[in-house]
Amino acid sequence: MVDLSVDLGGGHRLPNPLMTASGCAANGKELHRFFDVSDLGAFVTKSVMADPRSGRGTPRMAETASGMLNSIGLQGPGIEAFVDEDLPWLQSVGARVMPSIAGSSSTEYAHVAATLRASRAFDAVVGVEVNISCPNVANRGLVFACDPMASAKVIALVREQLPRDIPVFAKLSPDVTDITAIAAACVKAGAEGLTMINTLLGMVIDTDLMRPQLGGVTGGLSGPGIRPVAVRAIWQVRQAMFEGRIPTVPIIGVGGVRTGRDALEMVAAGASAIQVGTVVFNDPSAPVRVLRELCELLEAKGYDRFTDAVAVAHGR
């Protein structure tokens, strides 16, 4: 049997590297009908902000070749409802939770982190993912993740709110000229890990109506079609770590993972854990299926430990 366990920091050893992707798994109850969410290495929840949010009008999705666009607009119950209802439920079924938090200002992020930390089910938390792909109200709506300074500020403030044994993961956007610059800024500001990648900015025109198909005009592109971009981002950042340009921290890979092979691809490029997002819409039990397939592949290749496969494609 391959040892699948992995330590992503803070001394929380996860039984395996498979996770849900934020926003593609809601907060657990729905997928728990298909598989036991505590079988995952960690459950990443939908990005939560301070207050309840309705999200955007509809249509909120458009199907694309080997992927989809979404413009949900971070619909959610707000952090209070999250810590009162969702987090305790996840704890009750034994899930290890990686909450994803968001904000329109760096102080909102900090407030959400502080509320989380003070909550009764915080014990279930093994890390916090900071979704910095949000429009920054203070900067004409430019998303935090496109600006190293704004990203660093959010990460530093969130880091301050959380205990040391809770690693903070900065979730990066691929829509930048140089992702290693953003990665470096986040790690220097205190991120103990990076999640790559969030969706690509995209758009579909409804040619029947000759207008943008999404209510929100543009949306986030996800799914297998973007996997090569995710693998490249992971590779580049990991390479920068090898070259000493960024301190070495764990990378969580996400973007178009459909099979165990896809997961292994990201692992070989440098990911220490894997999230499955859009493919859940195709196959609700994809996260556990991918885990099984990954395990079989590692076994066939003669690996004793999952962690031995991390970043092996570098320097070959």
Binding site: A26, T58, M61, G78, G215, V279, P284
Partner: protein, 300 residues
């Protein structure tokens, strides 16, 4: 997530299985397909739907397609079967109607909330637009078993787009047909004939399934004539299982407040008077200003 409603929806069991097509035949403009899916067949209730994967392992079409369950037969020669009625409109539905017997399709279901059944034997009118009638025959049977008088109204653009007129006559106490072009039954809309039928039968509930515009007018007519409308909506759905938040629409909760709720788990059946019809416009649904969490002026 609006606590209560969601929890109730999520208690319903669901399964994923590779179903074999055992029969497929053309019915007017539609394809009537029978799948061997014992798990779904056992669990399903009228008004629920299934979601089918499209294409094979390397399909570029990632999202499932949703179909109302027309009928289930919990056991039989092949094990339980599930029937659907498909209108081929795009690449996904074309792929589905091209399947031949012995092909397999990956199925997730049953999904969503079923039509609520009245506790008393009140008269009911069931209104189906186009293939929207598909789930109503099964519903009709269950209602009549409970002693309800059941009438059905079938409407469509033209005769070939009506589904189940013969079956309706068999399973209901009265059937009225309308077509936009008069090629069958009354020329006009279901909303033209509905008021009289509600009044005549003294119906307590009107069930509807069909295009949004039709569901809105059913709701309006039902309200005006003292009946409750229960309508099954059809929104674009990326996941069908409640995890993506793409299928939302503005619906008034029991607390009187409007929320953007997921039509895949809190629907597809909603009480018509709870739906914020005022927010819909040409395929788009706005977030009403009074919706919980709506963007404030100046924006989120």
């Amino acid at each position: 997530m609006t606590g209560q409603a969601t929890d109730r929806a999520l208690r319903g069991r669901v399964t994923q299985e590779v179903a074999e097509v055992i029969a497929t035949r053309r019915v007017g403009a539609y394809q009537h397909i029978t799948l061997v899916a014992p798990g779904v067949a056992e669990l399903a209730r009228p008004g629920q739907f299934i979601a089918l994967a499209v294409g094979g392992e390397s399909s570029g079409t990632l999202l499932r397609r949703s179909f109302s369950i027309h009928r289930v037969s919990p056991s039989g020669t092949y094990g339980g079967t599930v029937e659907i009625v498909v209108s081929a409109v795009g690449a996904g539905t074309r792929w589905i109607v091209d399947r031949v017997p012995h092909d397999t399709i990956d199925v997730v279901g049953p999904l969503g909330k079923a039509f609520p059944l009245p506790t008393e034997p009140v008269a009911c009118v069931l209104v189906g637009g186009g293939y929207g009638s598909a789930p109503l025959f099964w519903l009709a049977g269950e209602l009549r078993e409970r002693g309800c008088h059941v009438e059905m109204v079938l409407g469509a653009a033209s005769e070939d787009r009506l589904f189940g007129v013969v079956e309706a006559r068999r399973s209901c106490d009265g059937v009225t047909v309308t077509t936009d072009d008069g090629s069958a039954g009354h020329r006009g809309w279901v909303s033209d004939v509905l008021p009289d039928i509600i009044d005549r039968t003294n119906a307590g509930v009107v069930y509807g399934c069909g295009p949004m515009g039709m569901l809105e007018s059913i709701t309006r007519v039902a309200e005006a004539h003292g009946a409750v409308a229960q309508v099954a909506v059809e929104e674009s759905m990326a996941c069908g299982i409640g995890v993506c938040m793409t299928c939302v629409m503005p619906v008034v909760g029991s607390d009187g407040r409007t929320r953007m709720v997921r039509s895949c788990v809190e629907g597809p059946v909603f009480r018509g008077d709870r739906v914020r019809w005022d927010a819909f416009d040409g395929g788009h649904a706005r977030v009403p200003d009074d919706c919980v969490g709506a963007p404030k002026v100046g924006g989120h």
